[in-house]
């Protein structure tokens, strides 16, 4: 039985997990780097252990210090949060080997789904549509060229070993291939120590839609609906919502069925996500995220289920307490990520509030945003009966939010919410860049006027 959990993370996601622990009566142990002494997760947890210097490699990626801290503070389990070690199968394995419970899937599952070629092969094998392209790593540039001829331009090169936009290149025609292939190989090598590349047909005007799943140790797999995460900048999600405005009921059922099928096939255990590209009512498997996701609150609000609590219950070998039929998805939830666009000290923070608003945030007045970690300041989540209500409530919430002393992306988010594309639900992953380029050209016009 899990009675205490070490949280191997920081920021708002560490608070999120501490809150789930409190709600379950579980003791929480925070870890922190020298740079995070004044962080809320350190203050809020029942205990806190300093595990290293500011650089992630020295602290939040320092598996040995984290596992030792968990053992010495008598924790039963480690929750890796998102990012950092959350998809590191070696860390999961080391955690298990130390006699601790890793709150996440088996280390084997993490390793299997971490191999994007293998993941895609499995999806294809059980009949889930995947984008056409190379079935495995490209031997050389010539192979890339012949695949590209076969599927037709544009194509996209991706690092076989990792995500986050690193090693990705979109190639419009044959002449761009040599340069792009070399650049992508180099980038993949430097970020993932693995230069292998995949090639896929590039679907330009697509949406990013993912299905949230819960699977227990007894073969029960259920979904909590889908999330649309198409508003992105450099493959970083900015706005997420559930349900997806572009998904008809039939496609939705096919997509959630496909996601459940994959999880059943690989014997997945825990919370996880299957990501798809959606284009004209056709969807294509992209990858499996074997962890909690930043945007999980969007699903929590529409289904009323605490995903982090369920992660803990599943890790504790409990069966899911509800069936698919007992899950009701109500209304529409929308999340905006508020990011810092510059480091600095928050001189004044007045959060938004009131009806239909949830805030997941670790900031406070006089908190300093350093340059060691990501720049997520707050997730504003709203939940109402309809998508257009949610958009209006989100605008109200963003407008009343006060964060002084640093620059944030609040105004950019408001601009996106105000576009006709977003309002009507007709947009794809390039919406954010479109909005920003329009703004830039307008600013330029003004400058010349």
């Amino acid at each position: 039985m899990i009675r205490s959990i070490l949280i191997a993370n920081r920021g708002e996601i560490a608070l999120r997990i501490i809150r789930a622990c409190r709600d379950l009566g579980i003791r929480s142990v925070a870890v922190y780097s020298n740079a995070d002494v004044d962080s809320l997760h350190v203050k809020m947890a029942d205990e806190a252990v300093c595990i290293g210097g500011p650089t992630p490699a020295d602290s939040y990626l320092n598996g040995s210090n984290i596992i030792t801290a968990a053992c010495l503070t008598r924790c039963d389990a480690i929750h890796p949060g998102v990012g950092f070690l959350s998809e590191n199968s070696r860390f999961a394995k080391a955690t298990e080997n130390s006699g601790l419970i890793f709150i996440g899937p088996d280390s084997e599952t993490i390793a299997l789904m971490g191999d994007k070629i293998e993941a895609k092969r499995i999806a294809k094998a059980i009949g889930v549509p995947t984008t056409i392209g190379s079935e495995g790593p490209l031997a050389d540039m010539q192979t890339a060229l012949s695949y590209a001829e076969a599927v037709g331009y544009p194509v996209i090169l991706k690092a076989a070993a990792g995500g986050g936009g690193r090693g990705m290149r979109i190639i419009e025609n044959r002449s761009q291939m040599p340069e792009m292939f070399a650049a992508a190989t180099k980038e993949a090598l430097s970020y993932f120590a693995d230069g292998n590349l995949l090639l896929e047909k590039f679907i330009g005007n697509a949406r990013h839609v993912e299905v949230q799943l819960l699977a227990d140790s007894f073969g029960n797999v259920i979904h909590l609906g889908e999330r649309d995460c198409s508003v992105q900048h450099h493959h970083q999600k900015l706005i997420e919502e559930s349900p997806c405005a572009a998904l008809d009921e039939k496609t939705k059922v096919r997509m959630t069925d496909a996601a459940i099928e994959i999880f059943k096939h690989i014997g997945y255990r825990g919370a996880g996500t299957v990501e798809f590209l959606l284009y004209n009512d056709e969807f294509y498997f992209m990858e499996v995220n074997t962890r909690l996701q930043v945007e999980h609150p969007v699903s929590e609000m529409v289904c009323g289920i605490d995903i982090v609590q369920q992660q803990i219950h599943i890790a504790d070998k409990e069966a899911l307490p509800f069936s698919q039929e007992e899950v009701t998805l109500t209304g529409h939830a929308l999340e905006c990520r508020i990011n810092a666009l510059s480091p600095g000290k928050i001189e004044n923070y007045i959060p938004c509030g009131g009806p239909w608003v949830r805030i997941d945030s670790h900031i406070y007045s006089h908190y300093s945003i350093g340059c060691h970690y990501d720049h997520l300041l707050a997730k504003i989540i709203v939940h109402t009966s309809h998508r257009n209500h949610s958009i209006r409530v989100m605008k109200r919430a963003l407008q009343e939010l006060v964060i002084e002393g640093i620059v944030t992306n609040r105004d950019q988010q408001l601009q996106v919410l105000d576009t006709m594309q977003f309002k009507t639900g007709q947009f794809s992953t390039n919406l954010f860049d479109q909005v920003m380029s329009v703004q830039k050209s307008q600013t330029r016009k003004k400058a010349y006027a």
């Binding site: 020298n34 252990v49 300093c50 595990i51 210097g53 602290s59 040995s64 210090n65 030792t68 010495l72």
Partner: protein
């Protein structure tokens, strides 16, 4: 004003009849004060020292901090005598203690010759990253 250095400020102060001067600008804050004796140079408070594994304060003992998270042992085995004792002199490379982590016994060695002034961690207890383990005096 940005280029104004401390020397200039003090110079100006010295040549004035002021008893106090406080100045704040983008890069620093300075406060000058003169008591009834107009011969005293103003005292500039030292700014915050960077935190290092070996904390140094002038004329005070060094602190050796833990470089990792683990269990602190002063003895190589339960029955053995401790690696070090208070008052003893230690050479560079001498083992000070063991920090056990992930079933590994990590020996912590002295990085400079010193005398052990105080043991700050408890035998068999958990130590965090950066936790003070020994107070020593450099030789």
């Amino acid at each position: 004003m940005d280029s104004l250095d401390l020397h200039t400020i003090i110079e100006e102060f010295e040549h004035s009849t002021l008893s106090e001067l406080e100045l704040q600008c983008a890069s620093y804050t300075v406060k000058l004060k003169r008591a009834n004796e107009p011969n005293l140079p103003p005292v500039v408070p030292p700014s915050q020292q960077p935190v290092a594994n070996h904390r140094v304060t002038e004329n005070s003992p060094d602190i050796i901090e833990s470089p990792l998270v683990g269990t602190f042992y002063l003895t190589p085995s339960p029955d053995a005598p401790p690696f070090i004792e208070v008052g003893r002199t230690i050479a560079t490379g001498d083992v000070l203690c063991i920090i056990e982590a992930m079933k590994m016994m990590n020996q912590l060695q002295a990085e400079f010759p010193c005398e052990i002034v105080k043991v700050l961690a408890k035998q068999g207890a958990m130590v965090e990253f950066g936790q003070p383990l020994f107070e020593v005096r450099r030789i």
